[in-house]
């Protein structure tokens, strides 16, 4: 019988890492970075985990399989006003005094739009018990839902 010396050994597997997940989070590969093959692969089959190369610009349609469908409403239209007779210029003269204006708050807007009408109604006694007017103006008839629709009709989606 041969006595086998049992020496405790530990093995290191170098193939386990090769089969594992590549962590490239420390090296963001976007846009023009990466090898030619990598960029080709990104173009055909973009990896969803890596950031795209749109740089914030939105697509003007959607993809149906391989074909791209353009939606005309999604094409941004730049509306630039007519600048004839416009007095403001790119630079400001050094002679101009330092203009300090306080912030224009919602309270100031209320004071301009609603306050005069309320004062007038109060003096003429046309206010109801809860404070609303007996002859509401267009602004006073406005509900939050209608106001939201009006704001959304412009096409902006920030509301």
């Amino acid at each position: 019988m041969s006595f086998v010396n049992v020496i405790a050994k530990r093995g290191i597997s170098t193939t386990a890492i090769c089969y594992g997940k590549r962590n490239f989070k420390k090296f963001p590969l976007y846009g023009k970075r990466g090898s030619r093959i990598f960029k080709q692969q990104q173009h055909e089959n973009p990896d969803p985990e890596l950031p795209d190369n749109k740089r914030g610009v939105r697509e003007i349609g959607y993809k149906v399989g391989d074909k791209f469908v353009t939606i005309p409403e999604m094409v941004p239209e730049l509306i630039v006003p007519d600048l004839t007779g416009f007095k403001l210029k790119p630079y400001v003269s050094y002679r101009a005094p330092d203009v300090v204006q306080s912030e224009f708050t919602a309270e100031d807007l209320f004071n301009v739009v609603y306050a005069p009408k309320i004062m007038k109604d109060l003096k003429e006694g046309k206010l109801n018990e809860d404070g609303s007017s007996k002859e509401p103006s267009n602004e006073e008839k406005l509900t939050p839902e209608k106001a939201l629709i009006r704001a959304r009709q412009t096409g902006s989606d920030i509301f």
Binding site: I79, L88, Y91, S93, Y94, A96, P97, A151, S156, D157
Partner: protein, 252 residues
Amino acid sequence: MRLTQILLSRVGEWSKQYANLPDRYIKRAMEQVYWRNPKGIQYRPSTVIQRKKFRFTMNRPWSHQFYEQNAPGRLRKKVFVEPIKKWSFFRGDRVEVLVGKDKGKQGIVKYIVQERNWVIVEGLNCHLRRMKRGDESLDLYIQSEAPLLVTDQVALVDPSDLKATPIEWRYTESGESVRVSVRTGRIIPIPATAEETIDYKSKSTYKEQPKDTGANEVAEITFEPALKTFEMDIMESMGIKEDRIPKKTYWY
């Protein structure tokens, strides 16, 4: 306090005044960033390795010569500068030199280096620099002024008797802070050329250029508050009518 603010606060207010450059340009031209942490949630935010110790000289911090003197790797011994609470020397001030071979002479302040407490007086405290251009046998000598320390080597001149005085900042009856000569009590006014920059001699005499908006147009108030968003206002002014109602969207 952020390092960028520290950088800017190191540059003296009166050193920057004549050049009339925006602060962000000075900061950008001066900073030497060696490493900036990348953007990403895994990195510590706003971690920068940059040069913090600069050797301030006669060259302005945004110039190339300043960069050469403060090149990456160039370590200079620290220059100890007496901190002055309120800077009292302006361009165009009449001062008397108290040390050196021009001791007792009076001159006008031409250049200020606030970071080193330096002031250059026109034509005084000069020395000759030899400039040899290439292989020329004729030596070219240039006379250049040496800077003078504001604390010890220079004193403001009292306009009443034209002699050097120590000064103090005091308040007038109207609440204005002025320099007052300690010996006589006479107010030493701040010279008109203190306001001068490379762009104008004074703000009121600035010649308006074609691309400048006039002072009146800037101060005009044309805003009329109305119950509309910015986009609604534009649509009304351009005559765009929209009847479609957009479908409801949800934010998650």
